[in-house]
């Protein structure tokens, strides 16, 4: 019995030593780790950029984490990350270096079977403030509207409140989900739902509505015709260090911006 346990421990320690030594080798090559955290809206795009960047620069490891805009700003202020991500504008007391990497539209989405193609900004505000509760009022069937908003503190919700609600409060009877993904999932499965998500995440499973006669597309955001849009920001506390600057340079380069455009975002230098 004891022999067996002894053998087990020897094997364990061998594995441990081996893994340590291989890690040591990596350290010998001087891998440079950049940590990025913040908005869950910016995260998928940062991940994609990081992936390409790491292929071209194998010495870098970029660690991208979520947590939300506010958490990203906090982490950046506390110097626990190299870069923060935010999908909302900074408040005056949040003194950080802002780098606009691109612009994103927030699209109002419904189920593809929904015959309504467009609404006015006023109608959208009506739905989310609880004034319009039935699809009949918008010229469809007699069925309650299942509106979905994001949770308090989310960057997307913050932008939505600024750009659409304009001071009106989001009604309490509206459902709340904690990510772009789960809002999209509900809208894609519930024919009577309406929600708002990043334009970059819109695909065939949901239908983006035309707002005030303007469809949310890259060109309409670029010209400013589509009003519900916000900047995606990278944040640094003071000037970023050399390694981090290299990643930022890549993001703002033509290649990086093209990658973002392919994902449905609007480049910052167009």
């Amino acid at each position: 019995m004891f022999k067996k346990i002894g053998i087990f421990f020897i094997i364990l320690s061998i594995i441990f030593v081996c893994s340590c030594s291989s890690k040591g080798k990596k350290d010998g090559n001087k891998k440079r780790i950049i940590t990025i955290a913040g908005s869950t809206s910016v995260m998928p795009f940062t991940e994609k950029l990081a992936e390409y960047f790491m292929i071209q620069n194998p010495k870098f490891i970029i660690d991208v984490q979520g947590g939300g805009s506010t958490a990203g700003i906090q982490a950046c202020l506390n110097n626990t990350v190299d870069l923060g991500m935010s999908s909302r504008k900074l408040k005056p007391e949040e003194r950080l270096n802002e780098i606009i990497i691109c612009y994103d539209g927030i699209s109002i989405v419904v189920h593809p079977e929904n015959p309504i193609g467009g609404l006015t900004l006023d109608q959208v505000r009506g739905i989310f403030s609880g004034r319009i509760k039935n699809w009949k009022e918008l010229g469809w069937i007699d069925r309650r509207i299942d509106a979905i908003t994001r949770e308090e503190g989310s960057g997307t919700r913050g932008s939505f409140e600024d750009l659409v609600m304009k001071g009106e409060e989001v009604d309490d009877s509206i459902m709340v989900q904690d990510s772009n993904g789960s809002v999209k999932e509900i809208v894609a499965t519930d024919p009577y739902a309406i929600g708002y998500i990043s334009l970059g995440l819109v695909d065939k499973r949901v239908k983006a509505l035309i707002i005030d006669g303007v469809a949310p597309t890259i060109s309409s955001i670029k010209t400013g015709a589509y009003k519900i849009m916000r900047p995606f920001l990278f944040l640094s506390h003071g000037d970023p260090d050399d390694y981090t600057s290299k990643f930022i340079e890549f993001v703002l380069s033509k290649q990086g911006q093209d990658l973002l455009k392919k994902e449905g975002l609007v480049g910052s230098y167009d």
């Binding site: 979520g66 947590g67 939300g68 805009s69 506010t70 958490a71 906090q74 069925r143 309650r144 299942d146 949770e151 308090e152 503190g153 989310s154 409060e169 309490d172 009877s173 509206i174 459902m175 709340v176 989900q177 904690d178 999932e185 509900i186 499965t189 519930d190 009577y192 739902a193």
Partner: protein, 285 residues
């Protein structure tokens, strides 16, 4: 030799005592930690404005969690309505009717039910129960009813195992006395066995409630998380646990404190439920 063994015994005893007390220490630390983090807001905003307030808008300075307290109790009650009859019947069947071989299959199966992670329950709820309710009862499907159904299934193992234990511990002489009076098996069960095991069964319900009120992951996925008190079984709702988990990621400052004070309220409710369950068990013995 004997002296050596007694020293060994002493060491083992001391070590075990320290470990046993450490779990108590954890409970104590958790309680202190939540209290320190959450109580400043109670002082700042006022106990009444938090517990009886209707408006939850933490970024705008309102911290009312009354609708969530009500919603938490509603789903818990709903879970009990669904879970209690099912669980109790299962426990009665297991202790009174089932043969040994069937018991050998059923018992481990129920333990497996307890081991399924709650996110899996939530996922199944979203995929199957929510669309059924949306199509047949209206509303979005993310509702009081769907949450109650899923929680009702989740508390089954708790109810069954504790009710089963208390039914089995009813002395055989009670049953034999009843049979001797000419009572049938069913008469014996509902007139003698179940009433004698009453306090244990009650305790199982209360512990089931504790599990339901504390459940988080499955609830966030199915409840819809709207802030209003549900007026209908097809209305969405938000529980205390759901509120914490939903907003913690983004919360800073007073918002974070608000979530901790939600935690205090939850802790007090769960402690009260556990105390009631213990009281129920003690009264029997």
């Amino acid at each position: 030799m004997t002296k050596d063994t007694s020293i060994k015994e002493q060491i083992v005893k001391t070590v075990l005592t320290i470990f046993a007390l450490s779990s108590l220490l954890f409970l104590f630390l958790i309680f202190i930690f939540i209290l320190i983090e959450g109580s400043p807001l109670f002082i700042k905003v006022g106990l009444k404005n938090i517990i009886l307030g209707f408006k939850w808008a933490p970024t705008k300075g309102s911290f009312g969690i009354f609708p969530m307290i009500i919603s938490s109790f509603l789903v818990t009650f709903g879970a009990l309505v669904i879970g209690a009859p099912l669980g109790l019947s299962c426990a009665i069947y297991l202790s009174e009717y089932s043969g040994k071989r069937l018991k050998m299959i059923l018992k481990p199966a129920l333990e497996l039910l307890a081991g399924i992670p709650s996110v899996v329950y939530g996922f199944l709820g979203v995929i199957y129960i929510v669309p059924i309710i949306r199509n047949y009862l209206g509303g979005s499907g993310f509702s009081l009813l769907s949450t109650s159904i899923v929680l009702g299934i989740m508390i089954l193992p708790t109810i069954i195992s504790i009710s089963f234990d208390s039914l089995v511990s009813v002395p055989r002489s009670y049953r034999e006395g009843s049979y001797a009076m000419g009572a049938t098996k069913w008469q014996t069960i509902y007139k003698i066995v179940v009433p004698s095991a009453r306090s244990g069964i009650l305790a199982s319900f209360i512990l089931g409630m504790g599990r339901a009120i504390g459940e988080t992951m499955a609830v966030i996925m199915i409840a819809g998380n709207a802030l209003k008190i549900p007026m209908n079984i097809t209305d969405p709702l938000r529980t205390l646990t759901g509120n914490i988990a939903l907003e913690l990621a983004y919360a800073t400052g007073d918002h974070r404190l608000g979530l901790f004070s939600t935690g205090i309220v939850l802790l007090v409710i769960i402690m009260a439920l556990n105390y009631m369950a213990n009281f129920g068990i003690k009264r029997r013995s």
